[in-house]
């Protein structure tokens, strides 16, 4: 028999906001259980003296990620233009470059850029070369984002744009981008997450980003578990608002 209690409970569970709160609660509950079950006591207080180090690590991670995002967005677009150009050399170059990057671990690329390629051109700024490596690493992925998005614009639409004489800027601004922004945003967000997480590898250059900062603090406090949990939470603090922002932009810019 169906009572009003059942109906009420079902409708509450169907509510989207409630569902999200419950889902988040599930994860939090799991983490709490894990912490409570751990044999050693849990306290973040030992990290207090390293607050400023960790905060600067946090901002450096954001800074590096944003620079790399824009760098790879621009370079990715250049490579996308190469891949659709009339020059057979540029197409071949893009292909070869893509294959090499796909097969290269980011760590290897960072180390080689900072310690081999940089010095070969008299650049000993390791942080700069590290960021450059991150940008180069993301370029083929960004190229693919453009490729999949722009391929949804038909040949005929380009003919119509030619016919009326739209400038390249007008084409992207009024015709291409508004149509592809929905397709563009989700993979773009994935790539940005890759960049943020990938930036942790810059620690091998002793660059003070979040991972490095916390590792330094851990080596003094010896609270490794707490350090990693802290690191995890801070990365989520960066990525989750970004993902929400992306969804907002998607809605705002879409048709």
């Amino acid at each position: 028999m169906k009572t009003w209690v059942d109906t009420d409970l079902t409708s509450i569970l169907m509510n989207k906001t409630v569902s999200y709160i419950l889902a988040i609660f599930t994860i939090v509950a799991f983490v709490t259980i894990v912490i409570l079950r751990s044999t050693s006591g849990f306290s973040l207080s030992s990290f207090t003296p390293y607050k400023s180090l960790i905060i600067s690590g946090f901002f450096n991670t954001i800074y590096v990620s944003i620079v790399s995002l824009f760098g790879s967005l621009i370079l990715g677009f250049v490579f996308y233009e190469f891949s659709i150009s009339k020059s057979k050399y540029l197409i071949a170059f893009t292909d070869v470059f893509t294959e090499i990057i796909y097969g290269t671990p980011l760590l290897v690329l960072i180390v080689i850029s900072a310690f081999v390629i940089g010095p070969a051109f008299n650049t000993y700024n390791r942080n700069l070369m590290g960021i450059a490596a991150l940008i180069i690493y993301m370029t083929p992925y960004m190229k693919n984002v453009y490729k999949s998005a722009f391929s949804s614009i038909t040949e005929e639409q380009y003919m119509a744009m030619d016919l009326f004489g739209f400038t390249p800027f007008q084409r992207y601004r009024y015709i291409i981008i508004p149509q592809v922004i929905r397709i563009l945003m989700p993979p773009l967000m994935n790539n940005f997450s890759l960049i943020i997480k990938g930036s942790a590898l810059l620690n091998v250059l002793s660059y003070n980003e979040l991972y490095y900062a916390i590792r330094v603090a851990q080596s003094k406090t010896f609270d490794f578990v707490e350090g990693y949990l802290l690191m995890w939470v801070i990365y989520l603090v960066i990525t989750i608002p970004l993902s929400q922002l992306t969804k907002y932009i998607e809605r705002r810019w879409a048709l």
Binding site: E156, Q157, A160, Q179, L255
Partner: protein, 234 residues
């Protein structure tokens, strides 16, 4: 209008137009007919300046067709409506007028509404292409072509993707446009439309203009190619 083709050849992978030389004067509505693959779509694209010929020259009303000035006054209607799918029918027109012709917003809107009503779309102006019928979208695309006030309007099989009822609807709308005093060059498979609407016909076969003349040639074809074509389309 005046048409002139000089030693015109065009190739994609193989040659599709073979050294055409042709002159025409004083006709307002020219139909290009022929079987698929005869080169008629290529010819209309070359005449409109959409594509560059491999060799040779084309002139329309004294303009070389690669001339920027000529290309800005060409109206072209594609096989598929080719409207920008994210914009309303009205915005499809005003965007073109504002951005590429420098017409201000109010005037652009006025022009857009004028041509959309001319094609009986006054109730559909705020819909996006996927929310109107194929015939309505094609008529909107004709309105867009007209909105830039072209001297010549090119229609490349404007009804080939439509069913017979929508075809009739679009062709009737085009016939009403003759009053505007525009000139037309069009490719079509609908012979009754050619007879009603064209005052000159070019019949193309395997990359050559095999036969040409007033629409009477459809009833009394001289070449065996056009005879064969007419016996098949009837």
């Amino acid at each position: 209008m005046k048409l002139e083709l000089k030693n015109l050849s065009h190739s994609y992978d193989v040659e599709v137009l073979h050294d055409l030389n042709f002159k025409l004067d004083n006709y307002k509505s020219v139909a290009i007919i022929g079987v698929s693959g005869s080169g008629k779509s290529t010819l209309i694209r070359l005449l409109s300046g959409l594509e560059k010929p491999t060799t040779g020259e084309l002139f329309v009303d004294g303009y070389a067709v690669q001339d920027e000035e000529y290309r800005r006054q060409v109206g072209f209607v594609f096989q598929n409506h080719n409207l920008f799918p994210h914009l309303t029918l009205k915005r499809n027109i005003t965007l073109v007028l504002e951005k590429t012709r420098g017409i201000d917003k109010i005037k652009a809107e006025e022009i857009a509404l004028k041509y959309l009503s001319l094609l009986h779309l006054e109730d559909q102006v705020d819909k996006i292409p996927k929310n109107v019928s194929g015939g309505q979208a094609q008529r909107a695309s004709i309105a867009r072509a007209l909105s830039i006030d072209p001297d010549v309007i090119f229609l490349d099989e404007p009804t080939s993707s439509l069913d017979p009822i929508l075809t009739h609807e679009v062709l009737t709308a085009i016939e009403e446009l003759l009053e505007l005093g525009k000139q037309f060059i069009f490719v079509t498979h609908v012979m009754s439309f050619v007879k009603d609407f064209a005052d000159y016909v070019l019949y193309m076969d395997s990359g050559n203009i095999t036969e040409h003349g007033t629409p009477d040639i459809l009833d009394n074809p001289k070449t065996k190619e056009l005879q064969g074509f007419m016996s098949r389309v009837r």
